[in-house]
């Protein structure tokens, strides 16, 4: 058994399931029961964004339980979370919090809620645009698109040049599997 699992309830935290609201819809979409959080705070204690983000993980779980949808979808945290997987690795009730973040981010976009961290949202979109086009990530293409979206043309210019000189950024990236990849994007409506 792993060193983090010994306190886990293998039943998944009891039989209380949400019957309405945000937590119910999240469970229907992801199979993750937000009501099984009993606010121990272990997730927040290990969160690398503690002291940086606006809603630490167990606060965010409480907001989901209480149906405070606006607070969740307008939070910076759903965008700042990079999915380091510390919270779910340590959660005694095995709640997959990073997958809930993925769901909340998607929900915010579907509801047209403006991202509280527009730069991070722009980064993801620039990344996926080059992958859809090339089948693989073009690091230069992604950076160029991101700079166009954010207007920060010169912010990382020095870094870009340093990486180029060291042979790490290629002017022409390799392409592969373009037809299949494009079909996968289109099937997902992206």
């Amino acid at each position: 058994m792993s060193d983090t699992n010994e306190y886990r309830n293998e039943e998944g935290g009891g039989a209380i399931h949400p019957t309405s609201g945000l937590a119910r819809e999240a469970e229907e979409a992801t199979g993750i029961n937000a009501m099984s959080c009993y606010q121990c705070g272990k997730c927040s204690a290990g969160c690398p964004l503690f002291g940086i983000t606006d809603l630490i993980p167990h606060d965010l779980m409480r907001c989901i339980q209480l149906g405070l949808e606006d607070r969740v979808l307008r939070s910076r945290h759903i965008w700042l979370c990079v999915g380091c997987e510390t919270c779910n690795t340590r959660c005694p009730n095995q709640i997959d919090i990073p997958r809930l973040m993925d769901y909340m981010r998607k929900r915010a976009m579907e509801k047209g809620v403006e991202a509280a961290e527009p730069g991070i949202s722009a980064f993801h979109n620039s990344f996926l645009k080059t992958v859809k086009h090339n089948g693989r990530l073009s690091e230069l293409g992604m950076m160029r698109d991101y700079k166009m979206k954010t207007g920060e043309y010169f912010k990382d210019f020095k870094l870009g040049m340093a990486l180029f000189k060291r042979g790490k950024i290629k002017l022409f990236s390799r392409k592969a599997g373009r037809r299949d990849v494009r079909a996968i994007f289109e099937r997902r409506g992206k």
């Binding site: 060193d3 999915g83 380091c84 997958r99 991070i120 693989r136 990530l137 996968i184 099937r187």
Partner: protein, 281 residues
Amino acid sequence: MKLAYYPGCSGHGTGRELDESTRDLCDRLGIELQELDDWNCCGASSAHSIDEGLGVALAARNLAIADKTGLDVMTPCSACFARLAGARKHVLEHGAPEGVEDVTGQSKVFHVLDLFGNEEFVEHFHGKVQKPLAGLTLACYYGCLTNRPPEVTGKDNPENPREMETLLEAAGAETVDWPLKTVCCGGSLTLSRDEIVGQLCGNLFDMARQAGAQALVTGCPMCFMNLDRQWGAANEQGIEALPVLYFTELMLYAIDPSRGRSLFKHHLSDPTQLFSERGLP
């Protein structure tokens, strides 16, 4: 031993030292790699952040290609490993995603550290060491995705992994015990929120130095990129940052110093002074 190989997009760009040293080590240590034909981006880090189903399908297309080879697949990138292993778990539990109907999940997914960290392999590698890394004291930094979550990675000890320490000690280096070896560097916030990455990497440098390390060693191209970049920023702020190296570069160096050293020219941080001070060519 023969494995299918997935270099990942960074393997052809910002993470080229990791890809080149992994291929070279496998060649010297009798592991045959067959690069997956026509592989695509696994979607890390953005696809699952925007649409979980897109992330699974992009990774699954590569698994379907691996299935056809009849080989297990190995990748040197932590993020690719997490996406491929996560997609395989999804396929085994819920079936093939839409649009990638031919994936079976029969090919297992390994990270390069799973392969090299194996006890028998460490001994095999130890026998090939020509130039022990004597005098180097290293902090091994694993980051997030080679170990977490254990349901995906299959790791027994996700809070305190030891594979890198074992390998580098077999190469003759000393390693330090330190508490931040699996704490996040800021990952994909590099471009969009570099001040957060700076703060998190600053903590890593600071703690590694306090533990007595002379360099940070990682196996993840994203961690490397963030730390290597922050090396310059930290130096400008008067914080004494440590050079950053891939564990595979150091293994290669121990077998063939001139080949190992040839990869350092791609780094932003400079380990050459550290090496020459310790009489390492």
